[in-house]
Protein backbone atom coordinates (compact mmCIF):
# COMPACT_ATOMS: atom_id res chain seq x y z
CA UNK A 1 0.00 0.00 0.00
CA UNK A 2 1.32 3.41 -0.95
CA UNK A 3 0.78 6.64 0.95
CA UNK A 4 2.41 10.04 0.81
CA UNK A 5 4.25 10.82 4.04
CA UNK A 6 5.44 14.40 4.54
CA UNK A 7 5.39 14.88 0.81
CA UNK A 8 7.36 11.74 -0.07
CA UNK A 9 6.02 8.40 -1.43
CA UNK A 10 5.99 5.84 1.36
CA UNK A 11 5.25 2.09 1.20
CA UNK A 12 3.28 0.18 3.78
CA UNK A 13 3.46 -3.63 3.40
CA UNK A 14 0.31 -3.83 5.48
CA UNK A 15 -2.47 -1.47 6.39
CA UNK A 16 -1.67 0.51 9.53
CA UNK A 17 -3.33 2.88 11.95
CA UNK A 18 -1.74 6.25 12.60
CA UNK A 19 -0.57 4.86 15.96
CA UNK A 20 1.01 1.97 14.08
CA UNK A 21 2.71 4.29 11.65
CA UNK A 22 4.14 6.42 14.44
CA UNK A 23 5.39 3.30 16.22
CA UNK A 24 7.05 2.14 13.03
CA UNK A 25 8.62 5.60 12.68
CA UNK A 26 9.84 5.38 16.25
CA UNK A 27 7.82 8.40 17.21
CA UNK A 28 5.47 6.95 19.75
CA UNK A 29 5.16 9.39 22.62
CA UNK A 30 6.97 12.13 20.76
CA UNK A 31 5.20 15.49 20.62
CA UNK A 32 3.90 15.33 17.07
CA UNK A 33 0.64 16.17 15.33
CA UNK A 34 -0.75 14.23 12.41
CA UNK A 35 -2.83 15.31 9.45
CA UNK A 36 -4.45 12.92 7.01
CA UNK A 37 -5.58 14.47 3.76
CA UNK A 38 -5.33 17.94 5.23
CA UNK A 39 -7.50 17.07 8.24
CA UNK A 40 -5.98 17.02 11.71
CA UNK A 41 -6.35 13.68 13.52
CA UNK A 42 -6.12 14.26 17.29
CA UNK A 43 -3.92 11.98 19.34
CA UNK A 44 -6.96 10.30 20.90
CA UNK A 45 -8.01 8.99 17.47
CA UNK A 46 -4.61 7.67 16.38
CA UNK A 47 -5.40 4.12 17.43
CA UNK A 48 -8.73 4.04 15.62
CA UNK A 49 -7.65 5.75 12.40
CA UNK A 50 -6.77 3.25 9.69
CA UNK A 51 -4.69 4.62 6.81
CA UNK A 52 -5.93 3.99 3.26
CA UNK A 53 -4.24 3.78 -0.13
CA UNK A 54 -2.98 7.16 -1.38
CA UNK A 55 -3.59 8.93 1.90
CA UNK A 56 -1.57 12.11 2.29
CA UNK A 57 -0.12 12.03 5.77
CA UNK A 58 1.71 14.87 7.50
CA UNK A 59 3.61 14.28 10.71
CA UNK A 60 4.73 17.58 12.20
CA UNK A 61 6.53 18.85 15.28
CA UNK A 62 7.71 22.14 16.71
CA UNK A 63 10.92 23.76 15.47
CA UNK A 64 12.72 27.00 16.10
CA UNK A 65 10.98 29.97 14.57
CA UNK A 66 10.18 33.62 15.09
Amino acid sequence: MKITLNGEPYDLDQSLTIAGLLERLGMTGRPVAVEVNRQLVPRAEHDGCQLAEADEVEVVTLVGGG
Binding site: E35, R43, E58, V60, L62, G66
Partner: protein, 274 residues
Protein backbone atom coordinates in the same frame (compact mmCIF):
# COMPACT_ATOMS: atom_id res chain seq x y z
CA UNK B 1 6.67 51.53 41.45
CA UNK B 2 3.71 49.69 40.02
CA UNK B 3 4.85 47.28 37.31
CA UNK B 4 1.73 45.91 35.68
CA UNK B 5 2.10 42.48 34.11
CA UNK B 6 1.50 41.97 30.40
CA UNK B 7 -1.95 40.45 29.81
CA UNK B 8 -2.82 38.92 26.44
CA UNK B 9 -6.07 36.98 26.28
CA UNK B 10 -5.95 34.51 29.16
CA UNK B 11 -2.17 34.81 29.57
CA UNK B 12 -0.22 36.96 32.00
CA UNK B 13 3.53 37.58 31.92
CA UNK B 14 5.96 39.47 34.10
CA UNK B 15 8.21 40.19 31.11
CA UNK B 16 7.04 42.29 28.18
CA UNK B 17 9.56 40.73 25.83
CA UNK B 18 8.42 37.88 23.56
CA UNK B 19 11.21 36.08 21.71
CA UNK B 20 11.53 33.71 18.81
CA UNK B 21 13.53 30.49 18.77
CA UNK B 22 14.78 30.49 15.17
CA UNK B 23 18.09 31.17 13.46
CA UNK B 24 20.40 30.45 16.40
CA UNK B 25 23.83 28.98 15.71
CA UNK B 26 23.09 26.24 18.26
CA UNK B 27 20.32 25.11 20.58
CA UNK B 28 22.66 25.74 23.51
CA UNK B 29 23.08 29.39 22.49
CA UNK B 30 19.32 29.71 22.08
CA UNK B 31 18.73 28.19 25.49
CA UNK B 32 21.06 30.66 27.20
CA UNK B 33 19.74 33.64 25.22
CA UNK B 34 16.15 32.78 26.20
CA UNK B 35 17.22 32.54 29.81
CA UNK B 36 19.07 35.86 29.81
CA UNK B 37 16.28 37.66 27.95
CA UNK B 38 13.95 37.18 30.90
CA UNK B 39 11.16 36.33 28.49
CA UNK B 40 8.37 34.02 29.65
CA UNK B 41 6.79 33.55 26.23
CA UNK B 42 8.59 32.10 23.23
CA UNK B 43 7.31 31.53 19.74
CA UNK B 44 7.99 28.39 17.67
CA UNK B 45 7.19 27.19 14.15
CA UNK B 46 5.40 24.00 13.06
CA UNK B 47 7.30 21.85 10.57
CA UNK B 48 7.42 18.32 9.22
CA UNK B 49 9.13 15.87 11.56
CA UNK B 50 12.45 14.67 10.18
CA UNK B 51 11.78 10.99 9.50
CA UNK B 52 15.36 9.96 9.14
CA UNK B 53 17.67 11.18 11.93
CA UNK B 54 14.54 11.22 14.04
CA UNK B 55 16.87 10.75 17.00
CA UNK B 56 18.64 14.02 16.15
CA UNK B 57 18.49 17.00 18.44
CA UNK B 58 15.01 18.41 18.88
CA UNK B 59 14.11 21.97 19.82
CA UNK B 60 11.89 20.74 22.62
CA UNK B 61 14.81 19.03 24.32
CA UNK B 62 16.23 22.53 24.94
CA UNK B 63 13.12 24.28 26.17
CA UNK B 64 11.86 24.12 29.72
CA UNK B 65 8.18 23.83 28.91
CA UNK B 66 7.31 24.43 32.55
CA UNK B 67 9.03 27.80 32.42
CA UNK B 68 7.93 29.13 29.07
CA UNK B 69 4.52 29.61 27.54
CA UNK B 70 4.92 28.48 23.96
CA UNK B 71 3.33 30.57 21.21
CA UNK B 72 3.05 28.49 18.04
CA UNK B 73 3.17 30.54 14.87
CA UNK B 74 1.98 30.05 11.31
CA UNK B 75 5.19 31.29 9.70
CA UNK B 76 5.53 30.10 6.14
CA UNK B 77 1.80 30.24 5.33
CA UNK B 78 0.54 32.28 2.40
CA UNK B 79 -3.19 31.54 2.52
CA UNK B 80 -5.80 31.70 5.25
CA UNK B 81 -6.55 27.97 4.90
CA UNK B 82 -2.92 26.92 5.33
CA UNK B 83 -2.51 29.18 8.36
CA UNK B 84 -5.59 27.63 9.93
CA UNK B 85 -4.27 24.07 9.32
CA UNK B 86 -0.94 24.99 10.90
CA UNK B 87 -2.64 26.68 13.85
CA UNK B 88 -4.62 23.49 14.54
CA UNK B 89 -1.48 21.35 14.30
CA UNK B 90 0.33 23.58 16.76
CA UNK B 91 -2.57 23.42 19.17
CA UNK B 92 -2.61 19.63 18.95
CA UNK B 93 1.07 19.37 19.89
CA UNK B 94 0.88 21.86 22.74
CA UNK B 95 -2.20 20.10 24.07
CA UNK B 96 -0.21 16.87 24.27
CA UNK B 97 2.52 18.79 26.10
CA UNK B 98 0.01 20.37 28.49
CA UNK B 99 1.59 23.72 27.70
CA UNK B 100 -0.60 26.78 28.39
CA UNK B 101 0.13 27.90 24.83
CA UNK B 102 -2.34 25.31 23.50
CA UNK B 103 -5.14 27.87 23.24
CA UNK B 104 -3.46 30.55 21.17
CA UNK B 105 -1.50 31.21 18.00
CA UNK B 106 0.72 33.83 16.46
CA UNK B 107 -0.99 34.27 13.12
CA UNK B 108 1.15 35.10 10.13
CA UNK B 109 -0.32 35.02 6.65
CA UNK B 110 2.28 36.33 4.29
CA UNK B 111 1.81 38.02 0.96
CA UNK B 112 5.14 37.37 -0.67
CA UNK B 113 7.99 34.89 -0.25
CA UNK B 114 10.65 37.53 -0.86
CA UNK B 115 9.74 40.21 1.64
CA UNK B 116 7.64 38.10 4.03
CA UNK B 117 5.29 41.04 4.41
CA UNK B 118 1.84 40.19 5.75
CA UNK B 119 -1.22 39.94 3.49
CA UNK B 120 -3.89 42.05 5.22
CA UNK B 121 -6.84 40.53 3.39
CA UNK B 122 -5.92 36.88 3.98
CA UNK B 123 -4.84 37.73 7.52
CA UNK B 124 -8.23 39.22 8.33
CA UNK B 125 -10.00 36.17 6.90
CA UNK B 126 -7.86 33.77 8.94
CA UNK B 127 -8.34 35.82 12.09
CA UNK B 128 -12.12 35.58 11.82
CA UNK B 129 -12.04 31.82 11.35
CA UNK B 130 -9.51 31.08 14.09
CA UNK B 131 -11.43 33.23 16.56
CA UNK B 132 -14.53 31.21 15.69
CA UNK B 133 -12.58 28.02 16.48
CA UNK B 134 -11.78 29.40 19.91
CA UNK B 135 -8.18 30.41 19.34
CA UNK B 136 -6.71 33.42 21.08
CA UNK B 137 -5.21 35.06 18.01
CA UNK B 138 -2.10 37.26 18.20
CA UNK B 139 -1.97 38.65 14.72
CA UNK B 140 1.10 39.89 12.88
CA UNK B 141 0.24 42.74 10.53
CA UNK B 142 1.72 45.81 8.86
CA UNK B 143 1.51 49.24 10.49
CA UNK B 144 -1.66 50.06 8.51
CA UNK B 145 -4.00 51.54 11.16
CA UNK B 146 -7.26 50.59 9.43
CA UNK B 147 -6.16 46.97 9.06
CA UNK B 148 -5.16 46.99 12.73
CA UNK B 149 -8.60 48.31 13.64
CA UNK B 150 -10.37 45.66 11.62
CA UNK B 151 -8.25 42.85 13.06
CA UNK B 152 -9.21 43.91 16.57
CA UNK B 153 -12.87 44.10 15.48
CA UNK B 154 -12.51 40.55 14.13
CA UNK B 155 -11.66 39.37 17.64
CA UNK B 156 -7.87 39.25 17.74
CA UNK B 157 -6.56 38.98 21.31
CA UNK B 158 -3.61 41.14 20.33
CA UNK B 159 -2.72 43.09 17.21
CA UNK B 160 1.01 42.99 16.49
CA UNK B 161 2.05 45.62 13.93
CA UNK B 162 5.51 45.38 12.40
CA UNK B 163 7.97 48.17 13.11
CA UNK B 164 9.66 47.25 9.82
CA UNK B 165 9.96 44.09 7.66
CA UNK B 166 10.82 40.79 9.38
CA UNK B 167 14.55 40.53 9.90
CA UNK B 168 15.28 43.89 8.28
CA UNK B 169 16.75 45.39 11.43
CA UNK B 170 15.25 48.75 10.47
CA UNK B 171 13.51 49.22 13.80
CA UNK B 172 10.54 51.61 13.86
CA UNK B 173 10.15 53.06 10.38
CA UNK B 174 6.85 54.86 10.86
CA UNK B 175 6.19 56.03 14.40
CA UNK B 176 3.30 58.14 13.13
CA UNK B 177 1.43 55.10 11.80
CA UNK B 178 2.05 53.14 15.00
CA UNK B 179 0.73 56.05 17.07
CA UNK B 180 -2.50 55.96 15.08
CA UNK B 181 -2.66 52.16 15.47
CA UNK B 182 -2.31 52.59 19.24
CA UNK B 183 -4.93 55.34 19.29
CA UNK B 184 -7.40 53.10 17.45
CA UNK B 185 -6.68 49.94 19.39
CA UNK B 186 -6.66 51.49 22.84
CA UNK B 187 -9.40 54.13 22.71
CA UNK B 188 -12.14 53.07 25.12
CA UNK B 189 -10.00 49.98 25.77
CA UNK B 190 -6.65 51.13 27.20
CA UNK B 191 -5.65 47.64 28.34
CA UNK B 192 -5.92 46.08 24.90
CA UNK B 193 -2.46 44.59 24.30
CA UNK B 194 -0.48 45.87 21.32
CA UNK B 195 2.84 44.14 20.59
CA UNK B 196 5.39 45.49 18.12
CA UNK B 197 6.47 42.45 16.11
CA UNK B 198 9.41 42.29 13.73
CA UNK B 199 12.05 44.65 12.43
CA UNK B 200 14.02 45.15 15.64
CA UNK B 201 17.76 45.44 15.07
CA UNK B 202 19.13 47.06 18.21
CA UNK B 203 18.03 47.74 21.78
CA UNK B 204 17.08 51.33 21.01
CA UNK B 205 14.43 50.05 18.60
CA UNK B 206 12.79 48.17 21.46
CA UNK B 207 12.99 51.17 23.77
CA UNK B 208 11.42 53.40 21.14
CA UNK B 209 8.63 50.92 20.48
CA UNK B 210 7.75 50.88 24.17
CA UNK B 211 7.96 54.68 24.38
CA UNK B 212 5.22 54.86 21.76
CA UNK B 213 2.97 53.10 24.25
CA UNK B 214 3.22 49.52 23.03
CA UNK B 215 2.61 46.79 25.63
CA UNK B 216 5.47 44.60 24.51
CA UNK B 217 7.86 43.66 21.73
CA UNK B 218 8.35 40.35 19.91
CA UNK B 219 11.68 39.78 18.22
CA UNK B 220 13.97 36.98 17.02
CA UNK B 221 16.66 37.87 14.47
CA UNK B 222 17.89 40.88 16.43
CA UNK B 223 19.09 38.54 19.15
CA UNK B 224 19.73 35.30 17.23
CA UNK B 225 21.95 36.88 14.56
CA UNK B 226 23.78 39.41 16.73
CA UNK B 227 27.51 38.74 16.98
CA UNK B 228 26.96 38.03 20.69
CA UNK B 229 23.39 36.75 21.09
CA UNK B 230 23.69 36.31 24.85
CA UNK B 231 24.70 39.89 25.48
CA UNK B 232 22.11 41.14 23.01
CA UNK B 233 19.46 39.17 24.88
CA UNK B 234 20.48 41.02 28.02
CA UNK B 235 20.37 44.30 26.09
CA UNK B 236 16.83 43.60 24.92
CA UNK B 237 15.69 42.75 28.45
CA UNK B 238 16.97 46.10 29.70
CA UNK B 239 15.62 47.92 26.64
CA UNK B 240 12.08 46.71 27.34
CA UNK B 241 12.29 47.90 30.94
CA UNK B 242 13.80 51.23 29.89
CA UNK B 243 11.10 51.90 27.32
CA UNK B 244 8.25 50.81 29.57
CA UNK B 245 9.40 53.09 32.39
CA UNK B 246 10.23 55.92 30.01
CA UNK B 247 6.73 55.88 28.54
CA UNK B 248 5.07 55.84 31.96
CA UNK B 249 7.33 58.57 33.32
CA UNK B 250 6.03 61.32 31.10
CA UNK B 251 9.01 62.61 29.18
CA UNK B 252 9.92 66.30 28.86
CA UNK B 253 8.72 68.11 25.74
CA UNK B 254 11.10 68.72 22.83
CA UNK B 255 12.29 72.29 22.25
CA UNK B 256 14.50 73.93 19.66
CA UNK B 257 16.88 74.79 22.46
CA UNK B 258 17.85 74.88 25.93
CA UNK B 259 16.79 75.66 29.41
CA UNK B 260 19.43 75.85 32.12
CA UNK B 261 19.98 72.82 34.35
CA UNK B 262 21.83 74.93 36.91
CA UNK B 263 20.31 77.96 38.61
CA UNK B 264 20.84 81.21 36.71
CA UNK B 265 20.78 83.34 39.84
CA UNK B 266 23.48 83.37 42.50
CA UNK B 267 26.33 83.20 40.04
CA UNK B 268 29.47 84.91 41.33
CA UNK B 269 30.34 88.36 40.04
CA UNK B 270 31.38 87.58 36.52
CA UNK B 271 32.91 89.39 33.62
CA UNK B 272 30.14 90.95 31.54
CA UNK B 273 28.31 88.14 29.73
CA UNK B 274 26.95 88.32 26.20
Amino acid sequence: MDDAPLRIGSHTFGSRLLVGTGKYASYETMQEALDVSGSECITVAVRRERLIDAEGKNLLDFIDTKRYTILPNTAGCFTADDAIRVARLGREILTQMNNPGANWVKLEVLGDTRTLLPDPIATLEATEKLVEEGFEVLVYTSDDPIVAKRLKAAGASSVMPAGSPIGSGQGILNANALKICLEYLKEDDPDYPVIIDAGVGAASDVTMAMELGADGVLLNTGIAHAADPIRMARAMKAAIEAGYDSYLSGRIPKKLYATASSPTEGVIGLSKTK
